[in-house]
Amino acid sequence: MSTCRLLLVDDEAEFIETLGKRLARRGLTVHLANSGQQALDIIAGNELDVVVLDVKMPGMDGIEALQKIKALKPDLEVLMLTAHANVEVAMRGMELGAFDYLMKPVELDELLYKIQDANKKKCLTG
């Protein structure tokens, strides 16, 4: 599979730094953002394949960010990764076109597979 360009978005900086390093070791190109707005800026300026997006963030929350990302780049796949276990929010995310809604803690392999699956889909419809 070709390299996957990934953006991790979470207000817990430490969490995405660690995760980003582990994913980079698996051969992914990883960008980090600590807020929804920062994520949108990065998305506007970079070619990306997959976004991993937290739901609960101060300021612009994940659902709003998802909406804006999809408006900006409809083909960009977005995985929600959150500790917010809420059926309604999850469904809202899925309806807005999230590729999946994963709950922390998630195993690295599982996340990696999801990223790969999302990436492949994007390449096919893109």
Partner: protein, 875 residues
């Protein structure tokens, strides 16, 4: 059949549009659908795994909390949404009704999860004199009982007020704090000691540093200044937890929450928050988890009462806690505050009184009380002092003890149940009641063991904290760190009977402490968990540390080296945990009812339709079936030979049809037929190996009754193929190199086999579903069970529902997966018409033996062949 399907398809979409597409475009379209199909299968498998885990939790195979229910329900909803979405990509517009069904079901699940006990309190604060017993849902039972005792029985209770569940809701819910806490618990998980301690400390920190809503803070301060008016300015107070739901299921919540004594006015608000935070102490969290009590059911009310300057204090039991038939009153007492008795920090004096008017002292034991705990009203601190000269003195006179006994008896009679009463006596020798709650009595065997019957004990003495006998390795705990290393089944050894050790009682086999008594919190919880506890065993730490495995006889008051089987045999069976009927299970049951039951069993029935999907499982089943059909149709619908089905030629054309999803053939197949050698799909080869390995011996000898049933049912049984329906007598495969999906009708039953065998070992699976037959239901059901039993022997996870059997073997390396396919191949060949003989026990046993032998031989052969290949490659 295909012409029929094609016609159907064209009706819906218009055939022309397809014909205008070029081969490349059709291939791209197919690839897109295939990718969606694979994602659908992944989501399908995930959904089934989630449901299975929820069922396991329901059966009590592990403890779980609200975080588990919420996240499983969310994950199930998300995955079923994905299934529906992927199906809509495979067959655009055709099954959109499912989105609506899904929405309905999700709304039902959300409603169940959102069910919150609503607070009935309308005031943030209630003075104790306005509180009655019926108000336990506003102020917690602890404060409700005290208020009742004060107002109705006119017994002495210190002046004070209760901070209600409304205040709690305002603080935790309205500020969004609870959401944050739930999120943390979900992210970290509360079921492991190594993550539990930091998690709890983080949550407690969050609560303590959060801002109280202004109206709540103000109400507390106003309440306090009114209390000053009733007592004196600057009065020190105690703040005690009085959680809602403490009495649920008769559980005591003993000692889990904080109580703070001698609080100065300036510390009121922070102390209130500390007590609310103690809802998330490690012992409270583990306790709720073990007992299946949802966090949301426990609203933390707090009682605030003027301090009593206690000369002595303790606990009175209105009946013997360790003997149900004993109605004598037990008074435990120590110098200073009752806290020392409750916390198990010192040994206490014991006065036993016989009921009567007045009650009569039966016996008293004066202990060595090496420490005194008291609060200095001036310095505003609480501290412990050496017992000194008072250590050996009785902390109550006999007369005072009998006054307490009278009070205990009166309360017992008024409330009609055994009670556990915390009391304090001030310097003026006036008695105050600080707490009163139901006492759970237990039966201690109270035996006297003949000396030497079980060998020489390592140590003998102490008192029974919780009855029973148990064995395990000694593990000494003195610091929180020791909790992390505590082994399951260990014997907890500690100097103090500290309430914080309660968090280990789910793991410990027995408890031994040097101090404490049956009156302490730890003893209470030990009794609740059915863990034997031997307390007040002097010198235990020195004598028992590092002794390895011991047998604790909490009834006979001794500790023996090693496992003493004779003694363990005397132990009464541990009571079955009531957790399976807990409020948590009730919530899970309700959620599961919307998720797990499967109503859509028969794909050929008219009810097999979106509007009949009543659960998430129904939707899952429906989508899986339809996705397979839709994928299979693709080649025909698009007149696309490369993706149309090819018939297997093995000597002669077989009724095995293959659709190549991706890389399932070694090269493009021109024409109608494909050979085994041209198939690149590994799972199919293994299945085929098993299928042809041992020739079928023909149908089993059918007994007269069986045959009659076939004849009779052939005319009415919907499972029996219609004459002339091609599809009814064939095997339809969709394959890629690593994946196969088989939909099949073999004779009178239909089945699906699905397998993914690739490099992602964690995603590998082999599933086998099977339903129907020609015989009557009972025989079909028996055959389903027969096959299910066999598969379970080979580590499949099996579910049976009537004559339907669903088996899955998930996760594992390639060779194990392929073995499972060989096994299924064998079963496909050999279970044909097995339903006919299912009532003949002898024949069934014979078949069972033959099958097991055949399969073991088959797998052994495959293994040897595999080994030879590996050796050859290496050579």
């Amino acid at each position: 059949m295909f012409t029929r399907l094609k016609a159907l398809f064209s009706d819906i979409f218009g055939q022309e549009s397809h014909q205008r597409l070029g081969d490349e475009e059709i291939l791209a379209e197919f690839k897109k659908r295939y990718h969606n199909f694979r994602l659908l299968l992944t989501a399908n498998k995930k959904t089934l795994a989630i449901m299975s885990e929820m069922e396991q939790a329901m059966r009590g195979q592990f403890v779980f909390g609200m975080a588990f229910v919420r996240s499983q329900a969310t994950a199930a909803s998300v995955n079923v949404f994905r299934i529906v979405k992927h199906l809509s990509e495979i067959a655009p517009g055709k099954y959109d009704a499912l989105f609506e069904r899904l929405k309905d079901l999700q709304a039902q699940i959300t409603a169940i999860l959102a069910r919150q006990p609503q607070t009935v309190a309308t005031e943030l604060l209630l003075p104790l004199e306005k509180v009655g017993r019926e108000m336990s849902d506003q102020v917690g039972s602890k404060m409700a009982n005290l208020g009742d005792i004060m107002t109705r029985l006119d017994l002495p209770v210190p002046a004070g007020f209760a901070i209600t569940s409304l205040a709690y809701t305002r603080f935790m819910e309205d500020t969004g704090l609870q959401d944050e806490i739930n999120r943390l618990i979900q992210a970290v998980g509360a079921d492991d000691h190594s993550t539990l301690l930091p998690l709890c400390s983080q949550i407690q920190q969050m609560i303590v540093t959060a801002e109280l809503p202004v109206d709540v803070a103000e109400a507390i301060l106003v309440g306090y200044s009114e209390l000053e008016g009733k007592t004196h300015p600057g009065v020190r107070v105690s703040l005690r937890s009085s959680a809602l739901g403490e009495d649920a299921l008769g559980q005591s919540f003993a000692g889990q929450f904080r109580s703070v004594l001698n609080v100065a006015p300036e510390d009121l608000l922070i102390t209130y928050k500390e007590i609310v935070a103690s809802k998330y102490s490690p012992q409270a969290v583990t306790y709720r988890l073990a007992k299946g009590i949802p966090d949301q059911d426990v609203a933390m009310c707090v009682g605030c009462m003027a301090m009593v300057h206690a000369r002595s204090g303790g606990v009175a039991y209105s009946r013997n806690p360790l003997a149900i038939r004993d109605d004598e009153v037990f008074i435990h007492s120590a110098w200073g505050l009752a806290k020392t008795v409750v916390d198990g920090a010192v040994s206490s004096d014991l006065f036993v009184a016989r009921r009567g008017n007045p009650p009569k002292l039966v016996t008293s034991q004066i202990s060595h009380k090496d420490r005194i705990f008291f609060c200095d009203p001036l310095a505003g601190v609480c501290r412990q002092e050496e017992g000194g000269a008072l250590a050996e003195e009785p902390s109550l006179t006999d007369e005072e003890a009998m006054r307490l006994a009278s009070i205990a008896i009166r309360l017992d009679e008024t409330y009609g149940e055994p009670l556990d009463i915390e009391w304090a006596m001030d310097e003026a020798r006036e008695i105050f009641l600080l707490q009163c709650r139901p006492l759970r009595q237990m039966e201690s065997s109270g035996v006297v063991r003949p000396e030497g019957q079980f060998g020489k004990p390592l140590l003998a003495g102490g008192v029974t904290g919780s009855p029973g006998v148990a064995a395990g390795p000694i593990h000494r705990v003195s610091r929180d760190l020791d909790m992390l290393t505590f082994p399951p089944g260990g014997v907890l050894l500690s100097a103090e009977a500290a309430p914080r050790w309660a968090t280990l009682l789910g793991k410990a086999s027995a408890v031994i402490t040097e101090r404490g008594s049956s009156a302490g919190h730890l003893a209470n919880v030990a009794r609740e968990f059915g863990v034997p506890a031997l307390m007040g065993l002097e010198g235990a730490v020195a004598a028992l540390s590092g002794k390895g495995e011991v047998t604790v006889d909490a009834d006979g008051l001794a500790v023996y080296p090693g496992r003493v089987e004779g003694l363990l045999a005397l132990a009464r069976p541990v009571e079955q945990d009531a957790a399976a009927h807990s409020p948590m299970h009730a919530i899970l049951r309700d959620v599961l009812d919307v998720i797990a039951p499967l109503n859509l069993l028969d794909p050929s029935a008219p009810e097999f339709a979106p509007e009949h999907c009543r659960t998430l499982h129904d939707i899952t089943r429906f989508c899986h079936e339809k996705s397979v059909t839709e994928m299979f149709r693709f080649g025909q619908d698009f007149h696309f030979s490369k993706r149309a089905s090819k018939q297997l030629k093995y000597r002669v054309p077989m009724k095995w049809f293959f659709v190549n999803l991706d890389d399932g053939f070694v090269h493009d197949i021109k024409g109608k037929y494909v050979t085994m050698e041209e198939i690149a799909c590994e799972p199919v080869h293994s299945l085929w190996d098993g299928f042809i390995a041992i020739p079928w011996q023909g149908p089993p000898p059918v007994d007269g009754k069986g045959l009659l049933h076939i004849v009779a049912h052939s005319t009415v049984n919907t499972n029996v193929a219609q004459v002339g329906d091609e599809y009814a007598q064939g095997n339809y495969f969709m394959i890629s190199k690593h994946y196969m999906c088989l939909s099949s009708r073999f004779g009178y039953h239909f089945c699906t086999v699905e397998a993914l065998v690739d490099d992602r070992e964690n995603e590998n699976y082999v599933s086998f579903q099977f339903k129907g037959g020609a015989a009557e239901t009972q025989r079909r059901t028996r055959r389903a069970r027969f096959i299910g039993d066999l598969l379970e022997e080979y580590s499949f996870r099996v579910e049976l529902q009537g004559d339907e059997m669903r088996a899955i073997y998930a996760k594992g390396p390639k060779d194990l997966m392929l073995d499972r396919l060989r096994l299924i191949g064998y079963l496909l060949m050999h279970t044909r018409q097995m339903d006919m003989v299912m009532t003949n026990e002898t024949l069934v046993a014979q078949y069972r033996r033959k099958f097991t032998e055949d399969i073991d031989g088959l797998l052994r052969e495959a293994g040897e062949k595999h080994m030879r290949e590996v050796m050859r490659e290496e050579a």
